[in-house]
Symmetry: C2
Subunit: 197 residues, 2 copies
Amino acid sequence: MPSTPIHPMPPFTKQVDLASGIIHDPHRVQTRRLSDLRGLFHAADAEAALASDDPLVYRVYDAHDAPNAAGQLLFSTTVIEPGRIGDEYFMTKGHYHAKEDRAELYYGLQGEGCLLMQTRDGDVNVQWMRSGSAAYVPPYWGHRTVNTGTEPFVFLAVFPADAGYDYGSIRERGFASRIVAGEDGPRIVPNPSYRGG
Amino acid sequence: MPSTPIHPMPPFTKQVDLASGIIHDPHRVQTRRLSDLRGLFHAADAEAALASDDPLVYRVYDAHDAPNAAGQLLFSTTVIEPGRIGDEYFMTKGHYHAKEDRAELYYGLQGEGCLLMQTRDGDVNVQWMRSGSAAYVPPYWGHRTVNTGTEPFVFLAVFPADAGYDYGSIRERGFASRIVAGEDGPRIVPNPSYRGG
């Protein structure tokens, strides 16, 4: 058993605004407009959208900055705006954890959408989320979130502070599947530009 | 970087009922009536209450059972009923983590209450919670939750799967402080029967 530090980290509370999902007094806010997400959506559709507008796609509110240590946790809220580029719904960049055996928990606060997940071996998994949905990203699953609704999709994310981010794998190879608007709602389709394996 | 397992753990979603806080299809439900909590409240007050009734104090809904490994997370909801034994509000047993450097995140869903925390060196900290409050239990803080309101106090808890529980320290020595009903609402007072240090 480790001995108690002389000055343990003090407890704190961050209040989440229930209507907007915004964390009051966040450590950091990351804002992602379409121009920050080159390569994420189909290029021609993204260029067409950018020619008329540079829409806000999502914001991440990081609550605090914990020591990069096993046992510490980080948490954030994400607000994904409703919208599409071509037939593809607004979504986050997505990442694997740098420490791939680190899990993550998502808890839906507002709106609806999904967690799109994949392993490096080509398994794909989609978990549909709404308010009150607690979706578990087990170790080794790359993950991205998608707003398939008409309102902002807002969720709380909790993850080990030492998980880290590997965005490069997704940026270089993409996701094996895309979530697109069909006539009867969202559909999961293969991504033809996925360079997987 | 660890290699991806051939059969990674599958993702899943558990739905939290927003009105009641109950997790559908939980791994486990722990029900704590007053008779399960001997020694928690002042003995004479508890005996008087037990003579007339054995009230439900709280329930814990454990969502799933993850491997006991660094990087995995567990989550649960807790529903603490409103009520008091003498002047002391209904509360959970409270514990330190067996791995004391493991943190925990609480997210308030319904009602109001507080997280009562202490270190083994006698520091005490109280975080007041309501719907949307994300309260962080840093490593090394023993923690208990208290319903100071008139409705059920419901919250989501997320913690490392390898944190473990040390209930014995609290059972043997108690908490340094108590949360009691005063004329103007809840008060934090010393616990005369605390055998601390």
